[in-house]
Amino acid sequence: MAVHSLHIFDRKGKTLFTKRYAPGGDNDDKHQLSEQLKLVFGMLFSLRETCTSLAPETEIKDAGLHSVSTGAGTLHNYETLSGLRFALYTTSSSSSSRSGGNNNNNNGKQQGAAIRTSLRFIYTNLWVEYVIRSPIFNNSKTMDVSSTNFEQKLDAYLKSKTWFK
């Protein structure tokens, strides 16, 4: 299982940070990439609206959208109350085999939980520490995430995870 890319969106849908880890794929055509990100955000936003209207009115912990999975990969999603969305796209390493259906399911759930914990860690320890606390971050064109050392810390953290290739 390999991490393909990580995106961070704010409440309004603006992309705060995006990084691609897998080689190849689309060429870095900025316009195309930003269109793609808008679609990703739109999907996460609409799914969240659907989830909140479907969910019952009780205090369930973690009641947001966790992940969207396809045959090719899974988009893991972590949202905070302040509207920050972390989206991590992973691709499954082994090709899907019909016989191992059940096994794949259980493994998928464990990996999903591990990734969700990681996304929470990225939020509480990396984002808050290095971006929110940085006086140079102002969420404007000139003073954005690249002016902090968030990316280096993020890379260092992800490299230390066993499921990251």
Binding site: R11, K12, G13, K14, K38, F41, G42, F45, E59, K61, T80, L81, S82, G83, L84, R120, Y123, T124, N125, W127, V128, I132, R133
Partner: protein
Amino acid sequence: MSKSNAAANGHSLWQKMPKANAELFALTYGTLVTELVRDYESTEDINEQLEKMGYSIGVRCVDEFLAKADQAGMVIPPCRAFGETAEVLAKTGLRMFLGVSAEVQMLSDSSFSLLIYENPLSLFVELPSDPKWKNLKYSNLYCGILRGSLEQVNLRVECKFVKDVLQGDDVNEIRVELKEVLVDGAGEEYQEE
């Protein structure tokens, strides 16, 4: 979130936060206000500047609050009524960042008053008795902080200092009024042209 829960959460979060010297904090803020007094003519301008500074602080506070609570294993559920927001703010949020908690009074569906008895910002402060300073809201930073942080959770509020210990009242009172519940929407990038 029940009242006792909020207070207990606030207390345990306060324990976990790194502490700064209270005197250093109060004196630094005092120097800041003195600089503003030198730069600006009218007290309204000074109040406004303090509020703006508080706003950018508040915007950052909310993520830190949510992150620390999450790390401590607490669940901060989305508030179902404005009163819940007020309780969480007063008992958990203020307690976590300042070490003092506030009381919520005069709660209605769209406004409440926060009563702060001990103000760590005004530790050594005395305002001169010149009538010019009657309008100076020394701790107006709080109003900005409340406005900034509530805006990050989709509540547009207006905060005003109603009573100030430095001006002779017995308690600090901040009146918070809910103006609008903002809707999570797509921003300018998504508008059709």
